[in-house]
């Protein structure tokens, strides 16, 4: 498979303080990579580095093949501002096309069509005129997913997408993401949920405090020491 991104010996951090170092992993087209790690292990810093919001301290993050920097669709964690934002679903989905506009002030016909088609694809076209703040958590995530898909169809980065959703909505969202992945979109998902990661992802990147604990295929992760330990503690937590 064609390699889309390579992270070589990258160190990440803020103003000299290193949060995570020696990160080495590769993402190829069609992969479903799940990034696991405890709080404070540098997951969100890694997200910022992948998105190009915060450059790495050392090492290299290289884009190859058909994906360039800033061509990653992003599903951020919801902010307080967004929870009661007065905007219609259509307005939010369309805003995903903004990067395509450049200095053109308004959306053109193709961009509007793209927004409509994406809403149909994610089955939220019936909600187009509804107000974002009145939707359920699962519906809100679908809207943001549609916006991300308007920005790019190559690679999606999801930041703990199921947080705050009820179990049914969580499963629905996971299935939707898996479906998008089957259609050829590369998925990078940051998550706490090991069980779901093992179930859906093709690759796992596990970061511990300050260093990389595991990167490889999910089947290998389940057999590895790190994976076994993590899965067992999770299972014990759930009992």
């Amino acid at each position: 498979m064609a390699v889309q991104m390579q992270c070589k010996n990258a160190s990440l951090g803020y103003e000299g303080a290193i949060v995570a170092e020696k990160l080495d992993f590769t993402i190829s087209k069609g992969d479903y990579l799940c990034i696991l790690g405890e709080n404070g292990s540098g997951k969100s810093t890694l997200i910022k580095a992948i998105l190009g919001l915060k450059p790495q301290i050392s090492g290299e993050i290289a884009w190859c093949g058909d994906v360039r920097k800033n061509e990653v669709g992003y599903l951020p964690q919801q902010t307080v501002v967004q929870k009661d934002f007065p905007a219609s679903v259509r307005e939010i989905v369309r805003s995903g096309c903004l990067a395509k506009c450049g200095f053109r002030p308004f959306y053109n016909k193709q961009e509007k069509e793209l927004a409509e088609n994406t809403m149909k694809q994610l089955e939220i076209d019936a909600l187009a005129k509804r107000c974002y703040r009145e939707l359920s958590g699962g519906q809100q995530q679908r809207v943001l997913l549609a916006r991300a898909l308007c920005a790019t169809r190559k690679m999606l980065l999801l930041d703990e997408p199921v947080t705050g959703l009820d179990p049914k909505a969580q499963i629905e969202l996971y299935e939707l993401i898996a479906k998008l992945n089957r259609e050829g979109i590369t998925i990078i998902m940051v998550s706490h949920d090991v069980a779901a990661a093992v179930k859906y992802a093709s690759h796992i990147l596990h970061i511990g405090s300050h260093r990389q604990l595991f990167f490889g295929k999910t089947s290998d992760y389940v057999q590895s020491r790190t994976g076994k330990m993590f899965l067992e503690t999770e299972a014990a937590d759930n009992d």
């Binding site: 902010t79 501002v81 002030p105």
Partner: protein, 312 residues
């Protein structure tokens, strides 16, 4: 009623009333457009903070001739000014206050809106600090170097707007019209970008759009509006002009465009109503406008409350 209409017609014969009306409506329109973004970005108090900065700058501009004069006299140890100095002081006194007020306010707006990112003093604290600091400096200057005989009157009219809107010169009106047109055009042209920067800055950055530049744009427009609005409602009441129409519109409307249009309509109607009733009943212009904005907000809250209950 008929008597009132006759009275209005008579007042509208005067150019200064027509100027005040035009300027008032333009300012109300501009401030309500930006208000939605500022309220949603949790920057409601930026209007207040910046207007205090503008107050400080305006006091500085007003007292500058006196300050220069006194300083020169103290240092030269003579009781009269040299002719060149006299000339400079006169020049300063005739200078348009805007030349000083606008750049100072712009600078503070940029500083404040940038504090969202990693700074030692967080957003709300920075706004509070700059706002009270500027207020104190402004009052101190006005008190120490009085430019007129009626200090409390001067301070009061800068804070609450009072009559300055009725004493606008054609040049002021022209400047206000140009600036409002620029603000409105900028808003329309960058509407989609402003929506996006309000809703989700990080997403915008991640897809390679320069969110910082648009934040800066919002800061600049805000500062311009506040400096313009100082004339209308004074620095204490500007926040009301910015937040009330937006809050009222957000009660009822469900799309961003709906909220913007509704808030602009509310703001213009309230400004027109406020100016007309202040002419008829000789109430202060600024507070009349703000009170009518408040009334609309309460009315809309009531409607949305009733509608919500019916749905439930």
């Amino acid at each position: 009623m008929i008597e009132n209409i006759g009275k209005l017609q008579q007042y509208f014969e005067y150019p200064f009333v027509r100027y005040a009306f035009a300027v008032g409506i333009l300012i109300a329109l501009c401030s309500s457009l930006l208000g939605v973004t500022l309220v949603l970005k949790r920057f409601s108090f930026i209007g207040d903070g910046l207007s205090h900065v503008a107050f400080g700058a305006m006091s500085l501009a007003a007292t500058l001739p006196v300050i220069v004069k006194e300083t020169v006299i103290t240092f030269s140890r003579s009781n009269a000014l040299s002719p060149q100095m006299e000339n400079l002081v006169n020049h300063l006194a005739q200078m348009n206050n805007m030349i000083l007020v606008l750049p100072v306010t712009l600078l503070c707006a940029i500083l404040l809106l940038r504090t969202g990112q990693n700074t030692k003093i967080k957003g709300d604290a920075a706004v509070a600090m700059i706002s009270v600091g500027a207020l104190a400096i402004g009052y101190l200057l006005m008190n120490r170097y009085p430019s007129g005989s009626n200090i409390s009157g001067d301070v009061c009219s800068t804070l609450f707007g009072s009559t300055s809107i009725l004493t606008l010169k054609p040049a002021d009106v022209r400047m206000c019209v140009y600036m409002s047109v620029v603000v409105i055009l900028t808003y329309i042209l960058f509407y989609n970008k402003i929506f996006s920067v309000t809703f989700d800055e990080n997403f915008m950055r991640a897809t390679g759009v320069k969110a910082g530049a648009y934040n800066l744009l919002v800061a600049v427009i805000t500062a311009v509006i506040i400096v313009l609005a100082m004339n209308l409602v004074g620095s204490l009441l500007i926040s009301a002009l910015i937040i009330f129409p937006a809050l009222a519109a957000m009660r009822l409307f469900k799309s961003f465009r709906g909220v913007i249009i509704c808030s602009a309509v509310i703001s213009v109607i309230c400004a027109a109503f406020g100016i007309i009733s202040s002419v008829l009943f000789s109430t202060p212009v600024g507070s009349t406008i703000v009170v009518s904005d408040l009334a609309v907000f309460l009315l809309f809250s009531l409607i949305s409350g009733v509608a919500g209950k019916r749905k439930a």
